[in-house]
């Protein structure tokens, strides 16, 4: 199981990483990226089983990243992607779902929420 965590806040990446570790994923099995550009670069080099991304980031935001991931020719076109963001508006949730995210978590979240969202992908 290889996971990509994308967030411009290093604290958030560590928090998410911590929950992922609690689910039994070793630290070596997840990569981190501080923006969409770095994440997209990693996506082209590696194959991930799950992508967890923030929305508001510099250089390339999470929504653009999701669009890249879902674009034709991408090896991650079907990779489960979860948006973890402070954007809590209904229109934003719809926009993200239309862009291709599989699930959506509003910050602040708790570990059980993220576990619940990740569980189905872990069981596959």
């Amino acid at each position: 199981m290889k996971i990509l965590i994308v967030d411009d806040s290093s604290t958030m990446r560590r928090i998410i990483g911590n929950v992922v570790q609690q689910l039994g994923v070793p630290k070596e099995s997840f990569d981190e990226a501080e923006d969409g550009v770095v994440a997209w670069d990693l996506c082209q080099k590696n194959k991930y089983d799950v992508i967890l991304t923030d929305w508001n980031m510099p250089n390339m935001n999470g929504l653009e990243l999701v669009k890249h991931i879902r674009s034709a020719g991408s090896q991650h076109i079907k990779t489960p992607t979860i948006m973890i963001t402070t954007e809590g508006g209904k229109s934003e949730v719809i926009t993200a779902l239309k862009a291709g995210v599989n699930n959506y978590i509003v910050k602040p979240f708790n570990a059980p929420t993220l576990k619940e969202k990740l569980d189905p992908f872990f069981k596959k």
Binding site: D7, S9, S10, T11, M12, R14, I15, N18, Q22, N56, T86, G88, G89, K90, V93, I94, L97, N103, Y104, I105, V106, K107, P108, F109, N110, A111, T113
Partner: protein, 294 residues
């Protein structure tokens, strides 16, 4: 308006979260409460005379204060005595003058300080609001990362404690098993029974240690979750920074001078500005003072 996780779930499942008329029902309910509460309250007529009479009664009931004749001279004498014991203040005209000049200095300094405080700060890097906010955001990010390091360290150490505790637990379990067998085989040896009891007590302690460490870990995970507010607050700061940037652009645009008219020198003191402007007599005296005799 921000959505809750439940609402997002509902949105993803295409199910309505609440009936549309729920708010109307609530409002109707609230209106009903307001109306009924308004109906219940009846204005009571208050008899002011009764109240005044009551007050008069109280005043009348007060015990009469007997006017005692006091010897004012005695009191004054006492006061004089106190005053007499005080150190004598030498009347020194120069010291009063010094005090007055000190007061003037203090007043002038205060006015200058106030003026300085009101002056706009130079637009250097340390006074630019966006720069300051950015610095706050970056600094707290760094500090949050350091706090996370500390929490991670405690988690790692707790894991070591758990591992060594588990090893102790395993050993004690085997000891209990052995002592139970020996105790059953040699029931007459009291020492075996005693050691078995002690081993069971230590076994319970290891279980307690595991519980404490697990509880600590849970609290650390909770603290880590709370640290998400750092990111949320950072984004709030970034929102303020964005507003300031837009406002700066807007103000720059609105105050921008599109005309190619060269900037003229502005007057420093215009009549009516205040005490710094001169009048006719000032001018005349200045002319007479500075004019050269030809």
């Amino acid at each position: 308006m921000s959505m809750t996780q439940e609402e997002i779930e509902a949105l993803m499942n295409d199910t309505p979260t609440e009936p549309e008329n729920a708010v109307d029902d609530l409002l109707a309910g609230i209106e009903g409460i307001v109306e009924s509460s308004e109906e219940d309250i009846e204005p009571e007529e208050v008899n002011v005379d009764d109240i005044l009479a009551g007050i008069d009664g109280i005043v009348d009931n007060e015990p009469e204060v007997e006017s005692e004749e006091v010897n004012v001279d005695d009191i004054l004498a006492g006061i004089d005595g106190i005053v007499d014991n005080e150190p004598e203040i030498e009347s020194d005209e120069t010291s009063v003058d010094n005090m007055l000049s000190d007061i003037d200095d203090i007043t002038e300094n205060t006015i200058e300080e106030k003026e300085e405080a009101m002056l706009p700060l130079p637009s250097s890097k340390e006074h630019k609001i966006v720069n300051q906010l950015n610095e706050v955001a970056e600094d707290t990010e760094e500090k949050a990362s350091q706090i996370f390091d500390v929490l991670s360290f405690i988690l790692d150490e707790n894991e070591k404690v758990t591992k060594s505790n588990d090893a102790s637990k395993e050993f004690i379990s085997s000891q209990i098993e052995l002592l139970e067998k020996l105790s059953n085989k040699f029931p007459n040896i009291a020492l075996l029974e005693e050691n078995l009891k002690k081993a069971k007590e230590v076994g319970e302690l290891t279980t307690l240690t595991t519980e404490i460490v697990n509880g600590e870990n849970n609290k650390i995970f909770e603290a880590m979750e709370i640290m998400q507010y750092h990111d949320i607050n950072r984004q709030k700061i970034e929102r303020v920074m964005s507003v300031i940037r837009k406002l700066t652009q807007y103000l720059n645009g609105i105050f921008e001078d599109d005309s190619n008219k060269p900037e003229v020198q502005i007057a420093k003191h215009i009549s009516g500005d205040g005490s710094q402007t001169v009048d006719e007599s000032d001018i005349d005296s200045l002319i007479s003072e500075f004019s050269t005799d030809n």
